[in-house]
Subunit: 248 residues, 2 copies
Amino acid sequence: MTYCLGIITAQGLVLASDSRTNAGYDQVNICRKMHLFVKPGERCFVVLTSGSLSVSQSVLTLLHQDFDAGAGLAEAVTFYDAARVVGACVRKVAKIDREALEEDDYKFNINVILGGQIAGSPHDLYMIYPQGNPLRATEESPFLQIGETKYGRPILDRGIQYRQTTLEQAAKFSMISFDSTMRSNVTVGPPIDMVMYTKDDLKIKQFRRFKDKDPDLIAIHGQWEQALRRAIIELPPIRFDEIESKFP
Amino acid sequence: MTYCLGIITAQGLVLASDSRTNAGYDQVNICRKMHLFVKPGERCFVVLTSGSLSVSQSVLTLLHQDFDAGAGLAEAVTFYDAARVVGACVRKVAKIDREALEEDDYKFNINVILGGQIAGSPHDLYMIYPQGNPLRATEESPFLQIGETKYGRPILDRGIQYRQTTLEQAAKFSMISFDSTMRSNVTVGPPIDMVMYTKDDLKIKQFRRFKDKDPDLIAIHGQWEQALRRAIIELPPIRFDEIESKFP
């Protein structure tokens, strides 16, 4: 399983991914799911992938080939174009692999998060579906998740606000969202890669890899659990009706 | 969709269920999913159901029929027997309905949570699968969920401890778990029914129905969001490596 997350706020982006990949329960490996495509000062993309590792690798190979040749993500004029470039790669691989996969009852399965900025345009955040079509994050829905999305969602629903949330806060919310997911699903696991992108940087200045048993990760986990328990204690008590006959 | 939750601690039980049922997006109704079987001073069962409403109703009809006739849950000697009584009812209904459902590609789908106590034995908590087999909550896994379980799980994973958590705290954790689930999935909705059962009561003394826009529910929701945002702010800042070349 995988968990990847992109958050967009007025100040910039936070993107994060786990690194666990498994084919069955007895074949668990570490695999980076965060990939950078950067021409400093001109354009900067962070790509996160979930789904079949084979399909993801093919899509990334094609994206890199084109980028290195000055095509694809390297020449997209708008961020929407860039999302379409990724979608086109997904469709290209679908044309090659989909039929053979489905013949053996495998799904053609890849989801992509694309965040970043092209000089002269605002920073932006998209998701690309297995069918290749793009979805854009908005001020009202300022985060996108792929993979094992549910455990880590409530904290984001409660906390992330496009205008108010600072990038530093968004990074902390991401960390808690990952911590919640890893705690509830063992197939999501470290290292956690995280990029904090301040708008108009047009390069990656702030990257962090949290390894297994990373002391910062452990400290945040412990402090968060304590804060939650304290918050529960401080809630007003639940009032109950004391009479059984009230049960409808 | 449905969300039902049972928590067992050294002090007793908290059981809660939502009340939204839908067959497609345009047929949403309110339906109670919490059912009581009580002989005060002798035995007390709370039954929560998720899955097909038709199947759940059939199982409950059979359970009530037997109970009223002094059989089934009314004469189970141990709590394990009681879980087996529920499982037998599930299997009885499966025998009647399963084939016809599967012919039209519907799943035979019911999950049950059974909590309560029989005089002379400890309070107990079980889940019964669609196949009729029972699973017991333990000190290490002191809560059971059915239905839309993921959104509301992290807060329980972090908070519920069989020996330390008081019943009042367990009720608050339940409330937050439901609030998280309702926020992220609109097909889980109020009224929320909640029972707090103190061990050896052998009747239901504390019941609460939280209706839509219940002022207590709104107050808890607001206070919780504020507490979370405060807790995020109080976390130490995430430290990033400032150099792009560190990206592996």
